[in-house]
Symmetry: C2
Subunit: 346 residues, 2 copies
C-alpha cells in the first residue's frame, strides 16, 4: 500500500453522458487520473482504498439530469458514486484510523478522498465475506430488513409476493418472510433465478415473469387467496397486476420500480381503485431513514448468516474495467444475485 | 303514523338496470309497493320510517355488477340501499323502541324492514338538524374525521390539499385541517363552490379544476412548497398531478376516486415513481373500520357544530321522486355541498 502523501495513479469510472433510456457501457468511461493519498492538515477527510463496489438500480436515476435534491445527479466527467467497501489509507478524522475497514458511499475508482467520512460505517466483523458489506450487511440488507419489518408490518402466515426476488434486496426479503412463517412467492426473469428462489432461498413458489403472458393470471395461480404483502421492486405492469390480487388491508412496500427507470414516459397504472376497495397501503421508503438502526440490524443478521439461516448469492465482476458492464447489466437482468465489483481484494 | 300491523303503500326507488358508464335517472325507477309495518313475532327486526336519505359517490359502485363482497352490488328490481335517517315504527329488537330516531343503512323507500338493526346508530341529540346524521354527524362525518386524523397523521402547519372539497366529506376535512393550523387548499368544479370553500369554510385558497388547463401548474401555484397531505376524492389525472407536487414523507388518504367510477377503463396514473423518490404513503380506508369510534367522534364534533366552529352545507332534494336525479347529479357535480333527499320531515 502507498505511504503517506504519495501521489498514485487512480483508475476511475466517470460518467461521460447523462443517460436517456437504457444506460449503455459507453455512457461511462474508464480513465486513469492521479490522487494524493495524503489528507490535508486540519481536514476531517479520509482517503480510502476501494475494495468492493456495489451496483444498485437506484444509481440509474442519478445518471439522468435531475433537479431532485434527494437524488442528486452524478457530475459529468466525475467518477460514479455508489456504496462500497474500502480500507482507510489515511485519516484526518478522529473516528477513523489507517487500516480501518469501512462501508458507505464512495467513488468508482481505486482510491477516494472522502470529505464527509461520517457517512461511512466501520466494519467490525470480518469472519463473513467483506463483499457482504455491499449487500446483506450493507445498504441492500438494511433496505430489505427495514422495508419488510417496518413498512410491510408482516404477520405470521401472511401471503408475501416479491418481484425482482433474486436481486440484492429481494432474496433477503423472501428469507426474512420465510423465517417469520409467511407464505412466500417470488418472480424473476430466468429459469436459473427461479430455481435459485425455490431451492436456495426456500421460497414456497416462484415464476419467470418473462414466460407469463398474463401476470394477473400468474399471480392468481400462485395466490388463490390473494396477497397480503407485496415488496415492490419493479413497478408498471407488475404493480397493476398485483393491485388486482391484493387482499383487504394489504400492504405494498415500494422499494423501487426498476422496470420504469429507463422509460421516457413511465407506464400507466390503472388499477389504483383497489386501494380504496381493499384499503391498501402503498408506502415508499428510503434506506437512509433507517441507517441509525444499522447496529441493531447487523447484530440481528450476523448470527443468522453465521448459522446459515440466511444465505446470500452474489454475482461478482472482476476489476473496475468491468464495472460499467456490471451496472448496465442490472437493467437487462444479466446479474444472478447481488451484483458486486471487486476492485482489489485487500 | 301508521299503527301496528297495518299494511301501507310504500314508494320505492328500485334499480332497473346495472349501470355502465355514467348512471342515468332511467337506471332507476320510482314505483309503489306495499309493506306491513308489523314486525314478526320473535324477529329481531325493526321497521323504520325513512326521513332523510344520503346520496354518496360510493353508491355508484354498487350499481354495477361486481363480485367484490365488500361492495355488494344492488339487486335489480329491489330498492337502492344507502345511509339514511329514520324513525322506528315497530321493533322486535330490545335496543330499539318505537319512536327512536336512528341513522344507518336503509332502503330508498318510505318504510324499510331492517332485519339487522345492529347496524343502526341511535340518534341522541336533536338540537342539530336531523339531516346532519346523513352528513356531518353520519357516515361522511366519520369518514372525514378518521381519514384526516387517523390516515393523514396531520401536524400543525402542514400543507393540505383536498379535491372535491365542497362535497360531503371534503368540506369537513378542510375545516378540521384549518382547526389544526394547517394551510388548506381545495378544488371544486364551479365558481360558486370555490367561493364557498374560501368564504364559508375558511380554506386558505381554492381553485376550479375545470378552468385549469394544467393541474400540475395549478397545484404549483397554490403550493410552491409542495403538499404534505392530499385527501383524495377524485383519482386519475388529479392524483397524477398531485404526485408531482408531494413533499418528502407526504401522505395521501384515499377516500374515493369519483372521476374514475364511470369510466369503462380507468385512467392511467404515471407518476408513481414519486412514491419512492419522496417516500410517500398512499392509504385507502373504509369508514366502517372506524364505526366503533362513532361515540368519540360525535362527542368531539357536536360541540364544534353548536359553537359554530364547524359549519356544514347541504343540498337538499325534496321527495323520493327526486332521489334518482339527486344521486345521478353527484357525478356531474350538480350538488353544492352534501346531497340529501328528504322523504318525510317526521
Amino acid at each position: 500500500m502507498a505511504g503517506n502523501g504519495e501521489v498514485v495513479s487512480n483508475k476511475q469510472v466517470v460518467l461521460k453522458n447523462f443517460v436517456e433510456g437504457f444506460p449503455k457501457e459507453t455512457d461511462m468511461e474508464v480513465k486513469t487520473s492521479s490522487i494524493s493519498l495524503k489528507v490535508e492538515e486540519g481536514s476531517n477527510a479520509v482517503v480510502v482504498k476501494n475494495l468492493y463496489l456495489s451496483c444498485d438500480p437506484y444509481m440509474r436515476n442519478r445518471m439522468t439530469f435531475s433537479e431532485n435534491p434527494e437524488f442528486a445527479s452524478y457530475i459529468k466527467g466525475s467518477p460514479i458514486q455508489g456504496y462500497g467497501v474500502g480500507k482507510v489509507v489515511n485519516s484526518g478524522h478522529p473516528e477513523f484510523k489507517k487500516g480501518d475497514l469501512v462501508w458507505g458511499t464512495t467513488g468508482w475508482e481505486e482510491y477516494s478522498l472522502i470529505k464527509n467520512p461520517q457517512v461511512l460505517f466501520k466494519i467490525h466483523h470480518t469472519d463473513v465475506p467483506l463483499s457482504y458489506y455491499t449487500g446483506i450487511l450493507g445498504m441492500p440488507g438494511i433496505t430489505a430488513w427495514a422495508g419488510f419489518y417496518e413498512i410491510c408490518t408482516p404477520k405470521k402466515g401472511e401471503y408475501v409476493y416479491i418481484s425482482a426476488a433474486s436481486g440484492a434486496v429481494g432474496q433477503l426479503v423472501g428469507q426474512f418472510a420465510k423465517l417469520m412463517g409467511c407464505y412466500v412467492v417470488g418472480s424473476a426473469g430466468s429459469k436459473e433465478k427461479v430455481e435459485l428462489l425455490k431451492n436456495k432461498f426456500g421460497f414456497d413458489d416462484a415464476f419467470n415473469y418473462k414466460e407469463e403472458k398474463d401476470l394477473n393470471a400468474a399471480l392468481k395461480r400462485c395466490f388463490p387467496e390473494g396477497i397480503d404483502i407485496y415488496f415492490e421492486n419493479v413497478g408498471g405492469k407488475m404493480l397493476d397486476a398485483v393491485l388486482l390480487n391484493m387482499r383487504v388491508r394489504g400492504r405494498i412496500a415500494v422499494c423501487g420500480m426498476i422496470s420504469q427507470y429507463n422509460l421516457t414516459r413511465p407506464e400507466g397504472v390503472y388499477n389504483l381503485m383497489n386501494v380504496v376497495y381493499k384499503r391498501i397501503r402503498i408506502e415508499g421508503f428510503a434506506v437512509f431513514d433507517f441507517f441509525h438502526q444499522y447496529s441493531k440490524f447487523s447484530e440481528t443478521v450476523l448470527p443468522s448468516i453465521r448459522e446459515g439461516k440466511v444465505v446470500y448469492v452474489e454475482d461478482v465482476a472482476e476489476g473496475l474495467e468491468n464495472a460499467p458492464g456490471a451496472l448496465v447489466g442490472l437493467f437487462s437482468g444479466r446479474n444472478v444475485g447481488k451484483q458486486v465489483v471487486v476492485v482489489a481484494k485487500e
